[in-house]
Symmetry: C2
Subunit: 293 residues, 2 copies
Protein backbone atom coordinates (compact mmCIF):
# COMPACT_ATOMS: atom_id res chain seq x y z
CA UNK A 1 0.00 0.00 0.00
CA UNK A 2 2.62 2.52 1.06
CA UNK A 3 5.06 4.16 -1.29
CA UNK A 4 8.53 5.65 -0.90
CA UNK A 5 8.18 9.37 -0.08
CA UNK A 6 10.37 12.07 1.45
CA UNK A 7 9.52 14.73 4.04
CA UNK A 8 11.80 17.71 4.67
CA UNK A 9 11.31 19.86 7.77
CA UNK A 10 10.13 18.35 11.05
CA UNK A 11 8.91 21.41 12.95
CA UNK A 12 5.61 21.74 14.80
CA UNK A 13 3.75 21.25 11.51
CA UNK A 14 6.08 18.92 9.59
CA UNK A 15 6.71 16.41 12.37
CA UNK A 16 3.08 15.32 12.82
CA UNK A 17 2.44 15.50 9.04
CA UNK A 18 5.39 13.16 8.35
CA UNK A 19 4.21 11.04 11.27
CA UNK A 20 0.81 10.55 9.62
CA UNK A 21 2.56 9.39 6.43
CA UNK A 22 4.61 6.84 8.41
CA UNK A 23 1.57 5.61 10.33
CA UNK A 24 -0.29 5.14 7.03
CA UNK A 25 2.44 2.72 5.93
CA UNK A 26 4.47 4.92 3.61
CA UNK A 27 8.23 4.47 3.48
CA UNK A 28 9.20 7.97 4.69
CA UNK A 29 12.75 9.28 4.42
CA UNK A 30 13.05 12.44 6.44
CA UNK A 31 15.50 15.33 6.60
CA UNK A 32 15.77 18.16 9.09
CA UNK A 33 18.44 20.89 9.18
CA UNK A 34 19.00 20.24 12.89
CA UNK A 35 19.63 16.51 12.90
CA UNK A 36 18.63 16.07 16.55
CA UNK A 37 15.08 17.00 15.64
CA UNK A 38 14.97 14.28 13.00
CA UNK A 39 16.24 11.76 15.55
CA UNK A 40 13.55 12.86 17.98
CA UNK A 41 10.98 12.38 15.25
CA UNK A 42 12.39 8.89 14.55
CA UNK A 43 12.04 8.00 18.23
CA UNK A 44 8.41 9.11 18.15
CA UNK A 45 7.31 7.64 14.84
CA UNK A 46 10.06 5.38 13.45
CA UNK A 47 10.18 2.21 15.55
CA UNK A 48 9.05 -0.79 13.54
CA UNK A 49 8.23 1.34 10.53
CA UNK A 50 9.93 1.78 7.15
CA UNK A 51 11.35 5.20 7.87
CA UNK A 52 14.87 6.62 7.65
CA UNK A 53 16.69 9.77 8.68
CA UNK A 54 18.61 11.09 5.67
CA UNK A 55 21.78 13.19 5.75
CA UNK A 56 20.65 15.70 3.11
CA UNK A 57 17.53 16.73 1.21
CA UNK A 58 19.01 15.08 -1.89
CA UNK A 59 19.44 11.76 -0.07
CA UNK A 60 15.90 11.89 1.36
CA UNK A 61 14.51 12.66 -2.08
CA UNK A 62 16.39 10.03 -4.09
CA UNK A 63 13.96 7.29 -5.17
CA UNK A 64 10.81 9.08 -3.97
CA UNK A 65 8.02 9.97 -6.40
CA UNK A 66 6.71 12.55 -3.92
CA UNK A 67 8.96 14.88 -1.90
CA UNK A 68 7.14 16.99 0.70
CA UNK A 69 8.56 19.98 2.55
CA UNK A 70 7.32 22.20 5.37
CA UNK A 71 10.06 24.59 6.45
CA UNK A 72 10.19 28.21 7.63
CA UNK A 73 10.58 30.82 4.94
CA UNK A 74 11.49 31.41 1.29
CA UNK A 75 15.23 31.09 1.86
CA UNK A 76 14.74 27.80 3.72
CA UNK A 77 12.76 26.36 0.80
CA UNK A 78 15.51 27.53 -1.58
CA UNK A 79 18.12 25.84 0.61
CA UNK A 80 16.37 22.46 0.61
CA UNK A 81 15.47 22.44 -3.11
CA UNK A 82 18.33 24.06 -5.07
CA UNK A 83 22.05 23.54 -4.74
CA UNK A 84 24.25 20.47 -4.65
CA UNK A 85 22.63 18.75 -1.66
CA UNK A 86 19.13 20.02 -2.41
CA UNK A 87 16.17 17.78 -3.11
CA UNK A 88 16.02 18.67 -6.81
CA UNK A 89 19.50 17.19 -7.26
CA UNK A 90 18.36 13.85 -5.87
CA UNK A 91 14.96 13.55 -7.51
CA UNK A 92 14.40 11.28 -10.52
CA UNK A 93 12.67 12.62 -13.64
CA UNK A 94 8.89 12.78 -13.14
CA UNK A 95 9.13 13.06 -9.34
CA UNK A 96 7.08 15.85 -7.72
CA UNK A 97 8.11 18.37 -5.05
CA UNK A 98 5.17 19.45 -2.87
CA UNK A 99 5.89 22.56 -0.79
CA UNK A 100 3.65 22.97 2.29
CA UNK A 101 5.61 26.04 3.44
CA UNK A 102 3.81 29.40 3.25
CA UNK A 103 6.05 31.39 0.89
CA UNK A 104 5.82 34.20 -1.63
CA UNK A 105 3.99 33.36 -4.85
CA UNK A 106 7.14 34.47 -6.69
CA UNK A 107 9.15 31.68 -5.06
CA UNK A 108 6.52 29.12 -6.04
CA UNK A 109 6.60 30.33 -9.66
CA UNK A 110 10.42 30.35 -9.68
CA UNK A 111 10.72 26.84 -8.24
CA UNK A 112 8.02 25.50 -10.56
CA UNK A 113 10.16 26.79 -13.46
CA UNK A 114 13.37 25.34 -12.05
CA UNK A 115 11.63 22.01 -11.45
CA UNK A 116 10.19 21.89 -14.98
CA UNK A 117 13.65 22.58 -16.44
CA UNK A 118 14.83 19.37 -14.73
CA UNK A 119 11.79 17.30 -15.70
CA UNK A 120 10.33 17.52 -12.18
CA UNK A 121 6.88 18.48 -10.98
CA UNK A 122 6.18 21.20 -8.42
CA UNK A 123 3.06 21.90 -6.35
CA UNK A 124 2.82 24.83 -3.93
CA UNK A 125 0.54 23.60 -1.18
CA UNK A 126 0.41 25.84 1.89
CA UNK A 127 -1.86 24.65 4.66
CA UNK A 128 -4.26 26.06 7.21
CA UNK A 129 -5.48 24.47 10.40
CA UNK A 130 -2.44 25.07 12.59
CA UNK A 131 -0.58 22.68 14.86
CA UNK A 132 -3.80 21.01 16.03
CA UNK A 133 -4.85 20.48 12.42
CA UNK A 134 -1.49 18.86 11.65
CA UNK A 135 -1.60 16.63 14.73
CA UNK A 136 -5.17 15.53 14.06
CA UNK A 137 -4.59 15.11 10.33
CA UNK A 138 -7.34 17.56 9.37
CA UNK A 139 -5.43 20.32 7.57
CA UNK A 140 -6.78 22.29 4.63
CA UNK A 141 -4.46 22.47 1.62
CA UNK A 142 -4.56 25.26 -0.98
CA UNK A 143 -2.63 24.09 -4.03
CA UNK A 144 -1.12 25.49 -7.21
CA UNK A 145 0.36 23.40 -10.03
CA UNK A 146 -0.67 20.98 -12.77
CA UNK A 147 -3.71 18.75 -12.48
CA UNK A 148 -1.56 15.67 -13.18
CA UNK A 149 0.89 16.43 -10.34
CA UNK A 150 -1.92 17.34 -7.95
CA UNK A 151 -3.77 14.09 -8.74
CA UNK A 152 -0.68 12.08 -7.73
CA UNK A 153 -0.06 14.08 -4.52
CA UNK A 154 -3.65 14.29 -3.34
CA UNK A 155 -4.27 10.73 -2.05
CA UNK A 156 -0.99 10.79 -0.11
CA UNK A 157 -1.69 14.24 1.39
CA UNK A 158 -5.05 12.84 2.54
CA UNK A 159 -3.04 11.24 5.38
CA UNK A 160 -2.95 14.66 7.06
CA UNK A 161 -5.52 16.79 5.24
CA UNK A 162 -9.30 16.90 5.44
CA UNK A 163 -9.50 19.04 2.33
CA UNK A 164 -7.14 19.73 -0.57
CA UNK A 165 -8.03 21.82 -3.62
CA UNK A 166 -6.12 22.80 -6.73
CA UNK A 167 -6.76 26.49 -7.36
CA UNK A 168 -4.74 27.14 -10.51
CA UNK A 169 -1.16 27.13 -11.84
CA UNK A 170 2.00 27.38 -9.71
CA UNK A 171 1.67 30.12 -7.08
CA UNK A 172 -2.13 29.81 -6.80
CA UNK A 173 -1.90 27.94 -3.51
CA UNK A 174 0.22 30.72 -2.03
CA UNK A 175 -2.14 33.40 -3.37
CA UNK A 176 -5.13 31.61 -1.83
CA UNK A 177 -3.31 31.42 1.51
CA UNK A 178 -2.77 35.18 1.25
CA UNK A 179 -6.53 35.66 0.72
CA UNK A 180 -7.03 33.66 3.93
CA UNK A 181 -4.57 35.80 5.92
CA UNK A 182 -6.00 39.11 4.61
CA UNK A 183 -9.45 38.03 5.86
CA UNK A 184 -8.01 37.12 9.26
CA UNK A 185 -6.17 40.44 9.65
CA UNK A 186 -9.39 42.43 9.29
CA UNK A 187 -11.43 40.07 11.45
CA UNK A 188 -8.97 39.95 14.35
CA UNK A 189 -8.39 43.72 14.44
CA UNK A 190 -12.13 44.39 14.31
CA UNK A 191 -12.69 41.89 17.10
CA UNK A 192 -9.84 43.38 19.15
CA UNK A 193 -11.27 46.90 18.81
CA UNK A 194 -14.76 45.64 19.65
CA UNK A 195 -13.72 43.68 22.76
CA UNK A 196 -11.52 46.48 24.06
CA UNK A 197 -14.39 48.93 23.52
CA UNK A 198 -16.75 46.57 25.38
CA UNK A 199 -14.40 46.26 28.35
CA UNK A 200 -13.70 50.01 28.52
CA UNK A 201 -17.44 50.73 28.29
CA UNK A 202 -17.97 48.54 31.36
CA UNK A 203 -19.91 45.79 29.58
CA UNK A 204 -19.71 42.08 30.41
CA UNK A 205 -17.78 41.38 27.20
CA UNK A 206 -18.35 37.61 27.32
CA UNK A 207 -22.11 38.10 27.64
CA UNK A 208 -22.07 40.48 24.67
CA UNK A 209 -20.13 37.94 22.60
CA UNK A 210 -22.69 35.26 23.45
CA UNK A 211 -25.47 37.50 22.19
CA UNK A 212 -23.85 38.75 18.98
CA UNK A 213 -22.14 35.51 17.93
CA UNK A 214 -25.38 34.23 16.43
CA UNK A 215 -25.52 37.00 13.84
CA UNK A 216 -23.71 39.09 11.25
CA UNK A 217 -20.71 39.80 13.53
CA UNK A 218 -19.92 36.09 13.93
CA UNK A 219 -16.54 34.71 12.90
CA UNK A 220 -14.36 31.69 13.61
CA UNK A 221 -12.10 34.11 15.46
CA UNK A 222 -15.01 35.24 17.66
CA UNK A 223 -16.05 31.65 18.35
CA UNK A 224 -12.52 30.49 19.14
CA UNK A 225 -10.57 33.54 20.36
CA UNK A 226 -12.91 36.09 21.97
CA UNK A 227 -12.80 34.33 25.34
CA UNK A 228 -9.00 34.15 25.48
CA UNK A 229 -8.71 37.73 24.18
CA UNK A 230 -10.95 38.95 27.01
CA UNK A 231 -8.86 36.93 29.49
CA UNK A 232 -5.61 38.29 28.02
CA UNK A 233 -4.29 34.78 27.25
CA UNK A 234 -1.97 34.62 24.23
CA UNK A 235 0.62 31.90 24.95
CA UNK A 236 -0.67 29.50 22.30
CA UNK A 237 -1.83 29.39 18.69
CA UNK A 238 -0.43 31.03 15.55
CA UNK A 239 2.44 33.36 16.40
CA UNK A 240 2.54 37.04 15.49
CA UNK A 241 6.02 36.52 13.97
CA UNK A 242 4.55 34.05 11.48
CA UNK A 243 1.55 36.26 10.76
CA UNK A 244 3.86 39.17 9.97
CA UNK A 245 5.82 36.94 7.59
CA UNK A 246 2.59 36.02 5.81
CA UNK A 247 1.28 39.60 5.70
CA UNK A 248 4.61 40.63 4.17
CA UNK A 249 3.89 38.24 1.29
CA UNK A 250 0.37 39.68 0.93
CA UNK A 251 1.62 43.27 0.83
CA UNK A 252 4.47 42.44 -1.56
CA UNK A 253 2.16 40.64 -3.98
CA UNK A 254 -0.42 43.46 -3.74
CA UNK A 255 2.28 46.00 -4.56
CA UNK A 256 3.24 43.93 -7.61
CA UNK A 257 -0.42 43.68 -8.69
CA UNK A 258 -1.15 47.35 -7.93
CA UNK A 259 -3.90 46.32 -5.51
CA UNK A 260 -4.87 48.34 -2.43
CA UNK A 261 -4.85 46.61 0.99
CA UNK A 262 -5.28 49.57 3.36
CA UNK A 263 -6.47 47.75 6.48
CA UNK A 264 -4.16 44.79 5.93
CA UNK A 265 -1.21 47.21 5.74
CA UNK A 266 -2.33 48.96 8.92
CA UNK A 267 -2.84 45.70 10.84
CA UNK A 268 0.62 44.58 9.71
CA UNK A 269 1.99 47.71 11.40
CA UNK A 270 -0.02 46.91 14.54
CA UNK A 271 1.53 43.43 14.59
CA UNK A 272 4.86 45.23 14.42
CA UNK A 273 3.87 47.09 17.60
CA UNK A 274 3.08 43.76 19.28
CA UNK A 275 6.49 42.40 18.24
CA UNK A 276 8.21 45.52 19.56
CA UNK A 277 6.43 44.96 22.88
CA UNK A 278 7.92 41.46 23.05
CA UNK A 279 4.87 39.59 21.74
CA UNK A 280 6.33 37.97 18.64
CA UNK A 281 5.50 34.48 19.95
CA UNK A 282 2.01 35.41 21.14
CA UNK A 283 -1.08 34.23 19.27
CA UNK A 284 -2.41 36.38 16.41
CA UNK A 285 -5.31 37.45 18.64
CA UNK A 286 -2.89 39.51 20.79
CA UNK A 287 -3.76 42.66 18.79
CA UNK A 288 -5.86 43.60 21.82
CA UNK A 289 -2.68 44.17 23.85
CA UNK A 290 -1.77 47.34 21.94
CA UNK A 291 -5.25 48.79 22.59
CA UNK A 292 -5.49 48.14 26.35
CA UNK A 293 -4.60 51.02 28.64
Amino acid sequence: MGERVAFIGLGVMGAPMAGHLAKAGHEVWVFNRTRGKAEGWFAAYGEGRAVKVAGSPAEAAAGARLVFACVGADQDVRAVTLGEEGAFAGMAEGAIFVDHTTTSADLARELAGAAAARGLGFVDAPVSGGQAGAENGVLTIMAGGSEADFAIARPVMACYARQARLLGPAGSGQLAKMVNQICIAGIVQGLAEALNFALEAGLDAKAVVEVISGGAAQSWQMDNRAGTMIDGKFDFGFAVDWMRKDLGFCLGEARRLGVSLPVTALVDQFYGDVQAAGGGRWDTSSLTTRLRR
Copy 2:
Protein backbone atom coordinates in the same frame (compact mmCIF):
# COMPACT_ATOMS: atom_id res chain seq x y z
CA MET B 1 -54.01 36.57 26.39
CA GLY B 2 -53.03 39.72 24.54
CA GLU B 3 -52.45 43.04 26.22
CA ARG B 4 -52.78 46.65 25.13
CA VAL B 5 -49.44 47.78 23.70
CA ALA B 6 -48.22 50.59 21.43
CA PHE B 7 -45.80 50.52 18.51
CA ILE B 8 -44.30 53.70 17.07
CA GLY B 9 -42.51 53.62 13.71
CA LEU B 10 -43.69 51.30 10.93
CA GLY B 11 -40.65 51.19 8.64
CA VAL B 12 -39.05 48.08 7.16
CA MET B 13 -38.26 46.85 10.69
CA GLY B 14 -41.14 48.25 12.73
CA ALA B 15 -43.95 47.18 10.40
CA PRO B 16 -43.31 43.43 10.61
CA MET B 17 -42.43 43.68 14.34
CA ALA B 18 -45.77 45.36 15.10
CA GLY B 19 -47.41 42.85 12.78
CA HIS B 20 -46.09 39.96 14.91
CA LEU B 21 -47.57 41.62 18.01
CA ALA B 22 -50.98 41.92 16.32
CA LYS B 23 -50.88 38.33 15.04
CA ALA B 24 -50.06 37.13 18.56
CA GLY B 25 -53.32 38.70 19.77
CA HIS B 26 -52.05 41.88 21.37
CA GLU B 27 -54.16 45.02 21.13
CA VAL B 28 -51.69 47.17 19.20
CA TRP B 29 -52.13 50.90 18.76
CA VAL B 30 -49.69 52.16 16.19
CA PHE B 31 -48.32 55.54 15.20
CA ASN B 32 -46.24 56.54 12.21
CA ARG B 33 -45.10 60.06 11.28
CA THR B 34 -46.34 59.57 7.72
CA ARG B 35 -49.93 58.49 8.33
CA GLY B 36 -50.24 56.72 4.96
CA LYS B 37 -47.69 54.17 6.10
CA ALA B 38 -49.74 53.41 9.20
CA GLU B 39 -52.82 52.92 7.05
CA GLY B 40 -50.87 50.56 4.78
CA TRP B 41 -49.81 48.62 7.86
CA PHE B 42 -53.44 48.46 9.02
CA ALA B 43 -54.49 47.08 5.64
CA ALA B 44 -51.82 44.37 5.94
CA TYR B 45 -52.26 43.40 9.60
CA GLY B 46 -55.34 45.11 11.03
CA GLU B 47 -58.42 43.46 9.57
CA GLY B 48 -60.34 41.55 12.23
CA ARG B 49 -57.73 42.31 14.86
CA ALA B 50 -57.76 44.64 17.86
CA VAL B 51 -55.46 47.26 16.37
CA LYS B 52 -55.83 51.00 15.87
CA VAL B 53 -53.98 53.78 14.05
CA ALA B 54 -53.38 56.61 16.52
CA GLY B 55 -52.99 60.29 15.67
CA SER B 56 -49.98 60.90 17.91
CA PRO B 57 -47.41 58.97 19.94
CA ALA B 58 -49.21 60.16 23.10
CA GLU B 59 -52.52 58.73 21.89
CA ALA B 60 -50.93 55.39 20.90
CA ALA B 61 -49.22 55.15 24.29
CA ALA B 62 -52.18 56.05 26.50
CA GLY B 63 -53.33 52.96 28.36
CA ALA B 64 -50.46 50.73 27.22
CA ARG B 65 -48.13 49.11 29.74
CA LEU B 66 -45.52 48.62 27.01
CA VAL B 67 -44.73 51.22 24.34
CA PHE B 68 -42.32 50.04 21.62
CA ALA B 69 -40.56 52.23 19.08
CA CYS B 70 -38.37 51.59 16.08
CA VAL B 71 -37.64 54.81 14.25
CA GLY B 72 -34.66 56.27 12.40
CA ALA B 73 -32.23 58.27 14.48
CA ASP B 74 -31.71 60.05 17.80
CA GLN B 75 -33.79 63.09 16.87
CA ASP B 76 -36.67 60.84 15.74
CA VAL B 77 -36.69 59.03 19.09
CA ARG B 78 -36.65 62.42 20.86
CA ALA B 79 -39.60 63.56 18.73
CA VAL B 80 -41.76 60.54 19.59
CA THR B 81 -40.95 60.46 23.34
CA LEU B 82 -40.61 64.05 24.59
CA GLY B 83 -42.85 67.02 23.95
CA GLU B 84 -46.60 67.62 24.16
CA GLU B 85 -47.66 64.88 21.75
CA GLY B 86 -44.82 62.50 22.68
CA ALA B 87 -45.35 59.04 24.11
CA PHE B 88 -44.09 60.01 27.58
CA ALA B 89 -46.97 62.52 27.87
CA GLY B 90 -49.53 59.80 27.28
CA MET B 91 -48.03 56.97 29.34
CA ALA B 92 -49.43 56.07 32.74
CA GLU B 93 -47.10 55.74 35.75
CA GLY B 94 -45.29 52.41 35.69
CA ALA B 95 -45.56 52.01 31.90
CA ILE B 96 -42.35 51.11 30.05
CA PHE B 97 -40.91 52.59 26.86
CA VAL B 98 -38.84 50.06 24.86
CA ASP B 99 -36.69 51.65 22.17
CA HIS B 100 -35.64 49.28 19.36
CA THR B 101 -33.97 52.12 17.42
CA THR B 102 -30.18 52.03 17.19
CA THR B 103 -29.17 55.31 18.86
CA SER B 104 -26.30 56.83 20.79
CA ALA B 105 -25.83 55.46 24.30
CA ASP B 106 -26.11 59.07 25.52
CA LEU B 107 -29.67 59.32 24.22
CA ALA B 108 -30.59 56.07 25.96
CA ARG B 109 -29.18 57.37 29.26
CA GLU B 110 -30.91 60.74 28.81
CA LEU B 111 -34.30 59.19 28.03
CA ALA B 112 -33.96 56.68 30.88
CA GLY B 113 -33.48 59.65 33.21
CA ALA B 114 -36.40 61.58 31.71
CA ALA B 115 -38.61 58.48 31.97
CA ALA B 116 -37.64 57.85 35.60
CA ALA B 117 -38.47 61.47 36.48
CA ARG B 118 -42.04 60.80 35.29
CA GLY B 119 -42.35 57.41 36.99
CA LEU B 120 -41.88 55.55 33.69
CA GLY B 121 -39.58 52.69 32.75
CA PHE B 122 -37.14 52.77 29.82
CA VAL B 123 -35.33 49.93 28.05
CA ASP B 124 -32.90 50.54 25.17
CA ALA B 125 -33.26 47.47 22.98
CA PRO B 126 -31.56 47.75 19.58
CA VAL B 127 -31.88 44.70 17.37
CA SER B 128 -29.82 42.73 14.90
CA GLY B 129 -31.02 40.36 12.24
CA GLY B 130 -32.16 42.89 9.65
CA GLN B 131 -35.37 43.05 7.66
CA ALA B 132 -35.50 39.26 7.20
CA GLY B 133 -35.07 38.78 10.95
CA ALA B 134 -37.95 41.17 11.61
CA GLU B 135 -40.20 39.52 9.04
CA ASN B 136 -39.46 36.02 10.32
CA GLY B 137 -39.66 37.07 13.97
CA VAL B 138 -36.13 35.90 14.76
CA LEU B 139 -34.39 39.14 15.77
CA THR B 140 -31.70 39.37 18.43
CA ILE B 141 -32.27 42.06 21.06
CA MET B 142 -29.46 43.68 23.08
CA ALA B 143 -31.04 45.43 26.05
CA GLY B 144 -30.12 47.97 28.71
CA GLY B 145 -32.32 48.89 31.67
CA SER B 146 -33.67 47.47 34.92
CA GLU B 147 -34.28 43.77 35.43
CA ALA B 148 -37.89 44.46 36.41
CA ASP B 149 -38.67 46.40 33.23
CA PHE B 150 -36.85 43.86 31.05
CA ALA B 151 -38.78 40.98 32.66
CA ILE B 152 -42.08 42.62 31.68
CA ALA B 153 -40.98 43.43 28.11
CA ARG B 154 -39.28 40.14 27.34
CA PRO B 155 -42.29 37.79 26.84
CA VAL B 156 -43.95 40.34 24.53
CA MET B 157 -40.74 40.93 22.52
CA ALA B 158 -40.57 37.14 22.05
CA CYS B 159 -43.23 37.67 19.35
CA TYR B 160 -40.46 38.95 17.05
CA ALA B 161 -37.18 37.95 18.72
CA ARG B 162 -35.37 34.63 18.95
CA GLN B 163 -33.04 35.99 21.60
CA ALA B 164 -33.19 38.91 24.04
CA ARG B 165 -30.60 39.63 26.71
CA LEU B 166 -30.26 42.33 29.33
CA LEU B 167 -26.64 43.48 29.32
CA GLY B 168 -26.63 46.15 32.04
CA PRO B 169 -28.14 49.54 32.90
CA ALA B 170 -29.61 52.04 30.40
CA GLY B 171 -27.34 52.44 27.39
CA SER B 172 -25.90 48.91 27.61
CA GLY B 173 -28.02 47.66 24.72
CA GLN B 174 -26.74 50.47 22.51
CA LEU B 175 -23.14 49.80 23.59
CA ALA B 176 -23.52 46.09 22.76
CA LYS B 177 -24.91 46.97 19.34
CA MET B 178 -21.80 49.14 18.82
CA VAL B 179 -19.60 46.14 19.67
CA ASN B 180 -21.48 44.22 16.98
CA GLN B 181 -20.98 46.94 14.34
CA ILE B 182 -17.25 47.37 15.16
CA CYS B 183 -16.75 43.63 14.55
CA ILE B 184 -18.61 43.86 11.24
CA ALA B 185 -16.57 46.86 10.03
CA GLY B 186 -13.29 44.95 10.38
CA ILE B 187 -14.69 41.73 8.96
CA VAL B 188 -16.27 43.29 5.86
CA GLN B 189 -13.24 45.43 5.00
CA GLY B 190 -10.88 42.45 5.43
CA LEU B 191 -13.15 40.35 3.24
CA ALA B 192 -13.40 43.12 0.64
CA GLU B 193 -9.60 43.46 0.46
CA ALA B 194 -9.20 39.68 0.28
CA LEU B 195 -11.75 39.15 -2.49
CA ASN B 196 -10.47 42.08 -4.54
CA PHE B 197 -6.92 40.71 -4.15
CA ALA B 198 -8.12 37.26 -5.25
CA LEU B 199 -9.83 38.63 -8.37
CA GLU B 200 -6.87 40.85 -9.32
CA ALA B 201 -4.50 37.93 -8.80
CA GLY B 202 -6.53 35.90 -11.30
CA LEU B 203 -7.85 33.35 -8.83
CA ASP B 204 -11.29 31.77 -8.96
CA ALA B 205 -12.43 33.74 -5.92
CA LYS B 206 -15.49 31.58 -5.26
CA ALA B 207 -13.37 28.43 -5.22
CA VAL B 208 -10.93 30.07 -2.78
CA VAL B 209 -13.84 31.07 -0.50
CA GLU B 210 -15.11 27.46 -0.54
CA VAL B 211 -11.72 26.25 0.59
CA ILE B 212 -10.99 28.82 3.30
CA SER B 213 -14.51 29.10 4.73
CA GLY B 214 -13.97 25.97 6.81
CA GLY B 215 -11.16 27.55 8.83
CA ALA B 216 -9.85 30.54 10.76
CA ALA B 217 -10.87 33.05 8.05
CA GLN B 218 -14.55 32.05 8.26
CA SER B 219 -17.21 34.62 9.13
CA TRP B 220 -20.96 35.09 8.77
CA GLN B 221 -20.09 37.78 6.25
CA MET B 222 -18.00 35.31 4.23
CA ASP B 223 -20.76 32.69 4.34
CA ASN B 224 -23.51 35.14 3.39
CA ARG B 225 -21.86 37.95 1.40
CA ALA B 226 -18.71 36.70 -0.39
CA GLY B 227 -20.71 35.40 -3.36
CA THR B 228 -22.62 38.63 -3.90
CA MET B 229 -19.46 40.70 -3.33
CA ILE B 230 -17.70 38.72 -6.07
CA ASP B 231 -20.71 39.21 -8.35
CA GLY B 232 -20.83 42.96 -7.54
CA LYS B 233 -24.44 42.73 -6.30
CA PHE B 234 -25.31 45.27 -3.57
CA ASP B 235 -29.00 46.23 -4.08
CA PHE B 236 -30.20 44.54 -0.87
CA GLY B 237 -29.33 44.13 2.80
CA PHE B 238 -28.18 46.69 5.39
CA ALA B 239 -27.56 50.08 3.78
CA VAL B 240 -24.25 51.93 3.96
CA ASP B 241 -26.15 55.06 5.14
CA TRP B 242 -27.35 53.14 8.21
CA MET B 243 -23.95 51.62 8.84
CA ARG B 244 -22.37 55.08 8.81
CA LYS B 245 -24.95 56.28 11.30
CA ASP B 246 -24.06 53.36 13.59
CA LEU B 247 -20.29 53.80 13.17
CA GLY B 248 -20.75 57.46 14.08
CA PHE B 249 -22.19 56.33 17.42
CA CYS B 250 -19.26 53.92 17.92
CA LEU B 251 -16.67 56.61 17.20
CA GLY B 252 -18.43 59.20 19.35
CA GLU B 253 -18.68 56.84 22.30
CA ALA B 254 -15.04 55.76 21.84
CA ARG B 255 -13.95 59.40 21.85
CA ARG B 256 -15.87 59.92 25.09
CA LEU B 257 -14.28 56.80 26.62
CA GLY B 258 -10.80 57.61 25.28
CA VAL B 259 -10.71 54.28 23.43
CA SER B 260 -8.84 53.72 20.15
CA LEU B 261 -10.78 52.34 17.15
CA PRO B 262 -8.24 52.81 14.34
CA VAL B 263 -9.65 50.38 11.78
CA THR B 264 -13.26 51.22 12.60
CA ALA B 265 -12.47 54.91 11.98
CA LEU B 266 -10.77 54.08 8.68
CA VAL B 267 -13.62 51.86 7.49
CA ASP B 268 -16.07 54.62 8.41
CA GLN B 269 -14.14 56.87 6.01
CA PHE B 270 -14.29 54.16 3.33
CA TYR B 271 -18.07 54.00 3.75
CA GLY B 272 -18.01 57.76 3.19
CA ASP B 273 -16.28 57.08 -0.14
CA VAL B 274 -19.05 54.62 -1.06
CA GLN B 275 -21.68 57.23 -0.18
CA ALA B 276 -19.87 59.84 -2.26
CA ALA B 277 -19.93 57.41 -5.19
CA GLY B 278 -23.72 57.17 -4.87
CA GLY B 279 -23.81 53.92 -2.89
CA GLY B 280 -25.54 55.07 0.29
CA ARG B 281 -28.38 52.59 -0.23
CA TRP B 282 -26.08 49.69 -1.17
CA ASP B 283 -25.48 46.80 1.23
CA THR B 284 -22.66 47.11 3.76
CA SER B 285 -20.63 44.61 1.72
CA SER B 286 -20.18 47.24 -1.03
CA LEU B 287 -16.78 48.23 0.42
CA THR B 288 -15.35 46.20 -2.49
CA THR B 289 -16.54 48.88 -4.92
CA ARG B 290 -13.97 51.43 -3.76
CA LEU B 291 -11.15 48.89 -4.27
CA ARG B 292 -12.07 47.71 -7.79
CA ARG B 293 -10.23 49.34 -10.67
